[in-house]
């Protein structure tokens, strides 16, 4: 066990590490999650069942996981990055195969006591492998196009598998998150321009591979009036609910649109709408403000870390959190198609909550091991 909990100075015990844990960030996470519990309580018409109580239980379990992930030595994560990644990839292939046998969309594997969603595991392990890859490159290396081939394969393989499930939201998240890691690792901007141009050329091709309901969502986004009783109904109703909340909102548990069932899936995808209807612009702004604080915390942790691996992990984790939040809020306000991404820490849903808390565990881990140096090939440099 010496490796697991070793530090550069080798003098931090588990307790010592726990003292290093960034409790301010944890407080923020707890506040945002509590807002979620309150909204779920309201969504159920003033009852803890069926959502709020279960969500709190999951938060409790996830919180323990968070602490465990945070105190494991950062080099362990470095060392096992590829192993985790390939396990996630194999599981993704497994769901693909199982899904084909079971007919229809399949996103999770049933492993007895829990439903394992490999795309969630992939979100974290992809950050780890990308961080490890760029950790090993000098700036000159990053400038060589050939050095980008391998990480691009690492990104595209799971992205394609997840998109085929079909879970476009998660695939998009993997791609955006990877692009951000590339960016902060120092990949030249013109390369992004080149990729954007390629993507522009590929979109018409990709369009033909979308399922009908996915095409419908994009078309409805472009013109909601097109289908006023189908998918467009959700966006129209969401805007009405949100807009009618006004500056101060209708009050806790007073949202007419949400409670009269005008609003679809108010406990998951459209929970931000419900929050804004009940607590108004001020409430929505408060939540966004809390998100901004978390984002800044993450940026600060990444800047403070002394290993490139730690920095990239921090940016990757906090960025995927950001992307979740941005896509969800933009979606309920009719600025993006309805892709079905949850609002992080607030929407009802166990797997997303777990992934986020484990992710934050990684972030805090980077903070705890902020002074740890890792050599370009993983060795501990002699100080």
């Amino acid at each position: 066990m010496p490796l697991l909990f070793a530090t550069p100075r080798g003098d931090l015990t588990i307790l010592g590490k726990l003292r290093q844990v960034n409790w301010g960030l944890i407080l923020l996470i707890a506040v945002v999650s509590s807002i979620g519990f309150a909204m779920l309580y309201s969504a159920a018409g003033g009852r803890w069942d069926p959502w709020a109580s279960r969500q709190m239980y999951r938060f409790g379990v996830g919180f323990v996981l968070l602490l465990v992930v945070a105190v494991v030595d950062l080099r362990v994560w470095y060392r096992f990055a590829y192993a985790l990644y390939f396990v996630a990839l194999v599981l993704l292939v497994a769901v693909e195969v199982a899904g084909r046998i079971g007919m229809g969309a399949q996103r999770w594997l049933d492993v007895g006591f829990l439903q394992l969603q490999p795309s969630e595991l992939m979100k974290i392990s992809l950050v780890l492998v990308l961080a490890r890859w760029f950790h090993g490159l000098t700036l000159e290396d990053v400038g060589r196009p050939l050095s980008l081939v391998w990480p691009t394969v690492l990104v595209l393989a799971p992205a394609v598998l997840v998109a085929k499930q079909p879970d476009l939201g998660s695939a998009l998240l993997l791609l955006l998150m990877s692009a951000i890691v590339y960016f902060v690792a120092g990949v030249r901007l013109w390369k992004f321009a080149a990729i954007a141009a390629t993507a522009g050329a590929v979109i018409p091709l990709a369009w033909n591979h979308l399922r009908d309901y996915q095409k419908q969502r994009v078309l409805t986004f472009l013109n909601p009036e097109n289908d006023p009783l189908g998918s467009g109904y959700h966006i129209i109703q969401s805007k009405i609910a949100l807009g009618s909340g006004g500056m101060w909102g209708k009050g806790f548990m007073q949202g007419t649109q949400s409670h009269l069932q005008f609003l679809p899936e108010k406990q998951t995808d459209f929970i931000f709408t419900m929050l804004s209807e009940e607590w108004g612009f001020v409430g929505g702004l408060t939540l966004i403000g809390l998100y901004v604080l978390i984002l800044l915390y993450g940026a600060a942790i990444s800047l403070r870390a002394r290993s490139q691996f730690g920095r990239l992990v921090a940016v990757g984790i906090v960025s995927s959190f950001y992307i979740y939040a941005f896509i969800n809020i933009a979606m309920v306000m009719g600025m993006l198609p309805v892709v079905g991404e949850p609002l992080p820490l607030v929407s009802y849903g166990g797997t997303a909550m777990m992934t986020l808390l484990i992710g934050f565990g990684m972030l805090i881990n980077v903070y705890v091991h902020r002074d740890l140096q890792i050599g370009r090939h993983g060795q501990t440099p002699e100080a």
């Binding site: 960016f183 805007k239 009405i240 807009g243 009618s244 984002l295 940026a299």
Partner: protein
């Protein structure tokens, strides 16, 4: 170390850029939120609180169904009904209480309404009562202020002006069942009906059309204030059938004397169904109005099965009409020539078993043509024994038996043509030669539908073309009639000489004084027919009964009486019509079924002179 610092510097710069960009995008979200919640808030408050936009689907009128001359078979009628929109009603049960002062609302209705409310989206209207009288409509309108969310709706309901005479063909519509709901909101509209049977079901999608919609601004009481936008749908397609209502009615009335039966009249040249009768029948209007429990029980428990379309779903032993297939199998195989003579003593012995001819005293010596026209069983025992079951089965299948013919109606049955292989596979016992003999006279395992018998006759009369029946004048699209192509049926490969011999035999059946159905002949030579009678046993006759004398016809209980069958085509020169009639437990093919076939064929030919051309194009209304 230098390199490491460079990398860290670039990283810091980019993280700063990234975070700035992320905050900027969040700023855009906040701006949008500010726009929706503060600047536009009043508008959305109005939409949410008082003036909810109500999006209403405009159901497309269902396409009408017409016969070949444009006679109406299915139309739409105005129907006033009262609906309640749950989202606009304070309390549904209170509203129903007020309503019940004006209308009768039973407990059963209440349960259905509550169930519908749970099942549907809250902005969709739920029907309280249909078919309101004018008095009820006006008293609801007067009390409108006390009835938030209650509205009078004018819808359309399906009406079948011809009643039971075409019910089996046209079918009926019914409200969609839970399993039919596909998420299409059109299906959740209160008066939406889907085709449940007959043409209504076979061409449901074409008849349905495409829904339009209208965006209506309504106040909190559910009263429409103004229409914001309207998008007209497309009415359903009009369906023109090949059916001739006059001939259909004629066939139904000729069958009416019998308890249960079916008749099929088909145009040999193109496979058009002119009449497809099945008795007893039911009134499709009972279904579109909503059938009552006792009525439904009556229909489903009646031993005469009025709901079944026996013309396509009744499977009967074809009896001697099957000798058509046996004759062709024999001649085409070359194993038996037309000159084969057989002496009929009234009984045929095979090993220890004895097979009887319907003519107890025997026919004497016969050739093939006489064998057909006098329908000698012994003659065909001999032929069948020589040809074998597999060749007979093969021929029967070429003639359209033992398979569904793909008529555009739901519920068509395939009948059964047995082979050695089939029997071994289904019963595990190998084929016995005695069974070949029995098959030679259309008994035993063999069954066929009246439609198949008519098609078999049409295939013979057309000189061996694979005639396929259909009901819609334009089957391909199921649409409004355009210029139509006559189907070009492929040949089933029968030689002219075999057909000539068979036809001579069938001609003798009605035109030779010794033929089995001479009494039913058509005297006008230009309209004369050729046919084949059949009487198929429903149960075995024991040796005991044969000794003591078989009980005849009316002495036997109805359910044990023989089926009476007759198939024929006319006119003899250049045949145009093929007809098959089956009378369940009608006793005698030549005595009971043949006169009906004769009358239908005569009526069709007379009608052809009066109305030479069927409708070519339907005037749209």
């Amino acid at each position: 170390m230098q390199r490491e610092n460079q990398r860290a510097k670039l990283f810091s710069r980019r993280v700063a850029l990234l975070t700035g960009g992320q905050l900027g995008l969040l700023g855009a979200l906040v701006a949008r939120m500010y726009y929706l919640q503060v600047i536009e808030s009043e508008r959305y408050k109005v939409l949410a609180e008082e003036n909810r936009i109500s999006l209403r689907l405009l159901p497309p009128p269902r396409g009408r169904i017409l016969d070949r001359f444009g006679e109406l078979l299915a139309v739409n009628q105005l129907n006033y009904r009262v609906v309640v929109i749950p989202e606009q009603t304070g309390s549904v049960s209170e509203t129903l209480d007020v309503l019940s002062n004006i209308l009768q609302i039973g407990d059963g209705d209440r349960r259905r309404i509550t169930r519908d409310i749970v099942r549907k989206r809250r902005f969709l209207p739920v029907t309280v009562r249909e078919n309101l009288t004018w008095d009820e409509v006006s008293s609801i309108s007067v009390n409108a202020p006390d009835l938030p969310g209650v509205m009078i709706d004018v819808g359309s309901s399906r009406f079948y002006p011809q009643g039971p005479e075409v019910s089996h063909i046209v079918g009926y519509v019914a409200p969609p069942a839970e399993s039919d709901l596909t998420g299409d909101p059109l299906l959740e509209l209160p008066d939406f009906r889907i085709g449940r049977n007959g043409v209504e079901r076979a061409y449901d999608l074409a008849l349905r059309g495409r829904a339009g919609n209208s965006q209506v601004e309504v106040n909190a009481l559910g009263r429409p204030i103004r229409e914001l936008a309207r998008n007209e749908g497309e009415p359903g397609n009009e369906m023109v059938l090949t059916l001739d209502l006059h001939l259909q009615r004629f066939a139904m009335s000729r069958l009416a004397d019998q308890e249960s039966g079916a008749a099929v009249l088909i145009d040999i040249r193109n496979g058009e169904i002119l009449a497809l009768a099945s008795t007893p029948s039911y009134d499709a209007n009972d279904f579109s109005k909503g059938i009552s429990g006792p009525q439904w029980r009556e229909l489903t428990t009646n031993p005469l099965t009025p709901l079944a379309n026996k013309a396509i779903a009744g499977q009967f032993a074809p009896g001697s009409t099957f000798k058509i297939a046996v004759t062709l199998a024999a001649l085409e195989s070359g194993l038996v020539g037309p000159d084969l003579r057989v002496r009929c003593p009234g009984v045929y012995a095979l090993g220890d078993a004895r097979f009887h001819c319907w003519e107890k005293h025997g026919h004497g010596s016969l050739d093939m043509i006489e064998g057909i026209s006098r329908s000698c069983d012994v003659y065909f025992y001999e032929v069948a024994r020589r040809v074998g079951i597999d060749r007979i089965a093969q021929m029967a299948k070429r003639l359209g038996l033992g398979q569904t013919l793909g008529i555009d109606l739901p519920g068509e049955r395939a009948g059964l043509i047995p082979t050695r292989e089939w029997k071994l596979a289904t019963t595990g016992v190998s084929w016995q030669q005695g069974e070949t003999l029995v098959a030679g006279i259309g008994q035993g395992f063999i069954t066929a539908t009246p439609l198949q018998l008519a098609v078999m006759t049409a295939r013979v009369a057309s000189g061996g073309l694979a005639v396929v029946p259909h009901l819609a004048r334009d089957k391909a699209s199921g649409q409004r009639l355009g210029p139509r192509q006559e189907p070009d049926f492929p040949s089933i490969g029968l030689s002219a000489s075999s057909l000539a011999i068979l036809t001579r035999g069938m001609r003798g059946v009605v035109n030779d004084p010794r033929g089995t159905a001479f009494k039913a002949r058509i005297r006008d030579p230009s309209m004369a027919m050729a046919g084949k009678s059949g009487t198929s046993q429903v149960r075995r006759i024991s040796a005991e009964e044969r000794r003591t004398g078989v009980r005849k016809g009316n002495q036997v209980p109805w359910r044990d009486r023989d089926h009476a069958l007759f198939v024929a085509f006319a006119p003899l020169e250049s045949p145009r019509y093929a007809c098959a009639v089956v009378i369940e437990h009608g006793i005698g093919g030549s005595a009971v079924a043949a006169p009906i076939v004769r009358d239908i064929l005569l009526e069709a030919q007379r009608r052809e002179q009066e109305h030479p051309e069927p409708l070519q194009r339907v005037a749209s209304t």
